[in-house]
C-alpha cells in the first residue's frame, strides 16, 4: 500500500513539471517569433566627440552606376585607426538612410579598421552588410570601391586593403566582387575614376 502523502507529493511534482513545460514552450515560441529587425543596431561605443572635419566620401549611386565624391563634416578623433573607422561608419550610415542612392542592408556596419604597416588596411565589416548585400557585379563593385576609395583618399599612405566579414575572409561579397585577396589601392583609384566618369 502506497502512503497517501507520497501519492500527493508525486502528483504535485508532476503538476509542477507540466506547468513549467507549458511555460517554457510558450516562452520559446515568443523568442522564435521575435522579428530580425528587432536586433539592436545601436552603437555600443559612445558617440565620437571632438571637432568636426571636412572629408570626402565616395558615395555610390545605383541609378547612374557611378561613384560621386561628396564632402561631409563629421567629428573625427585624433587617432589614425579611430579616424579610419569613423570615416567608414559615416559612409555606411549614409547608405542606411532612407533616401540613399545605394542602400545597404539594415544593420550594416564597419566593425573595425586595422591599419598595419607598411601601408596595409584591413576593413572588418559585420555579417549583415555582406550576407544580405544585393548581388551583381556593378552593385558589389560600387560598395567595395566606395569603401576603399573613401578610406584611401582621406588617410594617406594606404597601398592595399583587405575586406573581412565578421573577422573572416570570404570569396566574394555577394557572389561577384572578389574578397579573397588584397585590393591594390592604385587599381581601385583607377576603378573609381572610371565610375566617376560614368564611361
Amino acid at each position: 500500500m502506497i502512503p497517501r502523502h507520497l501519492i500527493f507529493g508525486v502528483v504535485f511534482m508532476l503538476a509542477v513539471v507540466l506547468g513549467i513545460s507549458v511555460y517554457m514552450l510558450r516562452m520559446r515560441s515568443r523568442v522564435v517569433a521575435l522579428p530580425l529587425a528587432a536586433v539592436d543596431t545601436r552603437p555600443v561605443a559612445p558617440p565620437t566627440v571632438g571637432a568636426t572635419e571636412e572629408v570626402t566620401l565616395y558615395v555610390a549611386d545605383d541609378a547612374a552606376g557611378m561613384l560621386r565624391p561628396q564632402s561631409v563634416r563629421i567629428p573625427l578623433p585624433s587617432g589614425r585607426q579611430q579616424r579610419a573607422e569613423e570615416l567608414l561608419r559615416a559612409l555606411v550610415n549614409l547608405y542606411l538612410e532612407k533616401s540613399t542612392s545605394h542602400p545597404l542592408p539594415p544593420g550594416s556596419e564597419v566593425r573595425n579598421v586595422y591599419l598595419l604597416e607598411p601601408g596595409t588596411a584591413v576593413i572588418d565589416t559585420n555579417g549583415a552588410l555582406a550576407d544580405n548585400h544585393r548581388s551583381g557585379i556593378l552593385v558589389e563593385e560600387l560598395t567595395v570601391t566606395s569603401l576603399i576609395q573613401s578610406l584611401a583618399s582621406n588617410l594617406g599612405g594606404i597601398n592595399r586593403v583587405k575586406i573581412l566579414v565578421e573577422g573572416k575572409q570570404r570569396d566574394t561579397l555577394a557572389g561577384h566582387a572578389d574578397l579573397s585577396d588584397f585590393y591594390d589601392v592604385s587599381a581601385v583609384v583607377h576603378m573609381a575614376e572610371q565610375m566617376q566618369s560614368g564611361q
Binding site: S135, I137, V139, D171, G175, H176, D181
Partner: protein, 484 residues
C-alpha cells in the same frame, strides 16, 4: 603558393569530368538551340525537368499553385499534379505514361511522355528517339551520305547536309566519330558495307543523347574536314591530313567547321549507298586551326546569383544567354566549350581550372543584373603584366599577362553592341574567376534594355546581345590567334 592548390584542384577535377561521361543525358535539337540535359532516374524510370527542356526554346515560367505545378510556355498553360499520370495542357488531358514528380520546385515528367507532351506546348511535330534519348523538334535533322572512292588509296567521303564537328577517336581497326551536338540521322540503313579491303564498312549508332559513326578499317584511319565542315574524308593514315585536335576537358565541347571552302575528291558510289551531288576534284585541304571560346554561364544550382525578380534568378538568364552565345559563336566558325549547360553548380576555382585546361582563345563569363540598363563589359582590375614564360603562373594574377588582349576584345564587343543600339559601358572589376584565367577574358553583365525587368529574359534581347558579343569576338580572331 595558391598555384600549388590550383594544380591539386585540377588533379581532382579530371576524375569528376570522367565520371560525368556515364551520366544519362538527353539531347534536344531545334532551330532555336541544340542542347543537352541530365536525366533524373526515379523508381527505375527516366525523368526530365519540363521547364529545363522548354527554357531554351522560348519564354517559359513555372509556379506552384497549391498542390499543382503550373507551367506557362509562351501562351500555353500546363497543369501538373505530383503523383498523377495525367496532365492538363491547353485545357486537354495528356497521358504522361508515369507519375509526375515535383522535386525542390522542379517539375519532372517521364521521358517517354515527351513525344506527346511537347507537341501540345510547341504546336509542332516532335520526334523522340527513346532508346538513345535524342529529341528532334521540327525539321532539324542533318542527313548524310557515304561514298567510297576505290581508286588507290581508298577514301570514304561522308557528305553532310549541314556543317558537323564530331569528336574523333580511334582504336585498332576502328575510327569513331561522335556527334554530340548535331541532329544526325542515318542514311536509310545503319550498316554500310563498301566491299573494300582497307575500309570494309561503317555503322551508324545512337546512344546517350549522341550519334556515332564507326568506320572499320584494316589499316589505321585518319579523318579530315573540308567544304566548311560538310564533308569528312576518311583514309588510311598517311594518305589524308589529320583532323585538328579538339580540346578534351570533360565539359560540353562543340566545334563547327572553320575551314576555307574546299571540295572532296570525286568518286564512284559504293553499292547500296546514295551518291552525293557530283563535286569537282580538288586537293585535300590543309589542317586549319580553330579558335576556341569558353562560355561560362555564371552561378547555377543552389547558387542562384542575383534575384532579378521573384521568379527570375540570375542563373537562369545567364544560362539562356550562354546557349545563345554558343550558337552565335559557332555560326561564326568558333568552337565553344560551355562550362555548364544545365543547372549545375561550379565553384569559382573549378570554373577557372576548367577554362584554363581548355586553353581557349577567349573566355566569356555571362552575368545578369537588375540594376541599370544595357550591357556592361568587364575586364580584370589587375595591373597588366608582361607575358610570363615560366612553367607556372600565379593563380591569383593569372589574367595579368592577357589583360591587354582582354581589353581589346572588350573594345571590339562594345563597338558591336553600340552598332546595335545597345547601351554599353566598359569597366574594370575585381571579379572572380576573371583574375585566374590565363587567356583573354571578359565578363558580360546584361541589364534590362529599358525599365521593364522582364525584358531581361526576352529571347529577342538576349539574342541581340549574344549576336553582338559573338560578332565582336569573331572580329578579334586573328589577334587572339596570334596571341596563342
Amino acid at each position: 603558393m595558391r598555384w600549388i592548390s590550383a594544380l591539386l584542384a585540377l588533379a581532382f577535377l579530371f576524375p569528376t569530368g570522367a565520371s560525368s561521361v556515364d551520366e544519362k543525358r538527353i539531347t534536344v535539337y531545334s532551330t532555336a538551340a541544340n542542347y543537352s540535359l541530365p536525366v533524373t532516374v526515379s523508381t527505375g524510370h527516366d525523368y526530365i525537368g519540363l521547364l529545363e527542356i522548354l527554357e531554351p526554346l522560348g519564354s517559359v515560367s513555372a509556379r506552384i499553385d497549391g498542390s499543382r505545378w503550373k507551367l506557362r510556355y509562351e501562351n500555353v498553360e500546363g497543369e501538373f499534379t505530383p503523383g498523377k499520370t495525367q496532365a492538363r495542357v491547353r485545357g486537354k488531358e495528356v497521358d504522361l505514361y508515369g507519375s509526375f514528380l515535383l522535386e525542390n520546385g522542379h517539375g519532372l515528367v517521364p521521358l517517354v511522355s515527351l513525344s506527346t507532351l511537347l507537341p501540345r506546348f510547341l504546336g509542332g511535330p516532335v520526334t523522340f528517339h527513346e532508346t538513345s534519348r535524342r529529341l528532334f523538334i521540327g525539321s532539324v535533322a542533318t542527313q548524310f551520305t557515304a561514298e567510297l572512292s576505290k581508286t588507290a588509296p581508298a577514301k570514304l567521303v561522308l557528305t553532310f547536309s549541314s556543317p558537323v564537328n564530331p569528336t574523333i577517336s580511334t582504336e585498332p581497326g576502328k575510327l569513331h566519330m561522335l556527334f554530340s551536338r548535331e541532329p544526325l540521322v542515318p542514311p536509310g540503313t545503319q550498316n554500310l558495307t563498301f566491299g573494300d579491303k582497307t575500309i570494309p564498312g561503317a555503322i551508324f549508332q545512337e546512344r546517350n543523347g549522341a550519334a556515332e559513326i564507326v568506320v572499320t578499317g584494316t589499316q589505321p584511319l585518319m579523318a579530315s574536314f573540308s567544304n566548311n565542315g560538310r564533308t569528312i574524308t576518311i583514309a588510311a593514315a598517311g594518305t589524308a591530313p589529320a583532323q585538328p585536335a579538339v580540346p578534351q576537358t570533360g565539359v560540353a565541347t562543340t566545334s563547327p567547321a572553320a575551314q576555307p571552302p574546299s571540295t572532296p575528291p570525286s568518286a564512284a558510289p559504293a553499292p547500296g549507298v546514295t551518291p552525293p551531288p557530283a563535286l569537282p576534284a580538288a586537293a585535300m585541304p590543309a589542317p586549319v586551326h580553330r579558335m576556341l571560346a569558353v562560355v561560362d554561364a555564371s552561378h547555377g544550382g543552389d547558387e542562384r546569383g542575383a534575384a532579378l525578380t521573384d521568379q527570375l534568378p540570375e542563373k537562369d538568364v545567364t544560362l539562356a544567354v550562354a546557349r545563345k552565345l554558343r550558337q552565335e559563336l559557332e555560326s561564326r566558325g568558333i568552337s565553344v566549350v560551355m562550362l555548364r549547360d544545365s543547372d549545375a553548380m561550379l565553384q569559382l576555382d573549378q570554373r577557372a581550372a576548367l577554362a584554363n585546361a581548355a586553353s581557349p582563345g577567349v573566355y566569356i563569363s555571362i552575368h545578369a543584373s537588375s540594376q541599370g540598363n544595357g550591357v556592361r563589359l568587364y575586364t580584370s582590375a589587375l595591373p597588366a603584366r608582361a607575358e610570363s614564360y615560366t612553367p607556372f603562373v600565379p593563380w591569383d594574377t593569372g589574367q595579368a599577362a592577357s589583360l591587354l588582349e582582354s581589353q581589346a576584345v572588350v573594345s571590339s564587343v562594345a563597338a558591336d553592341l553600340r552598332q546595335k543600339q545597345v547601351a554599353v559601358r566598359s569597366l574594370e572589376a575585381p571579379l572572380r574567376p576573371l583574375n585566374n584565367i590565363t587567356a583573354p577574358a571578359l565578363a558580360v553583365e546584361l541589364a534590362p534594355p529599358a525599365k521593364d525587368l522582364l525584358d531581361l529574359a526576352s529571347p529577342a534581347y538576349e539574342q541581340l546581345v549574344a549576336g553582338a558579343v559573338a560578332s565582336g569576338v569573331a572580329r578579334m580572331r586573328d589577334k587572339l590567334d596570334a596571341k596563342r
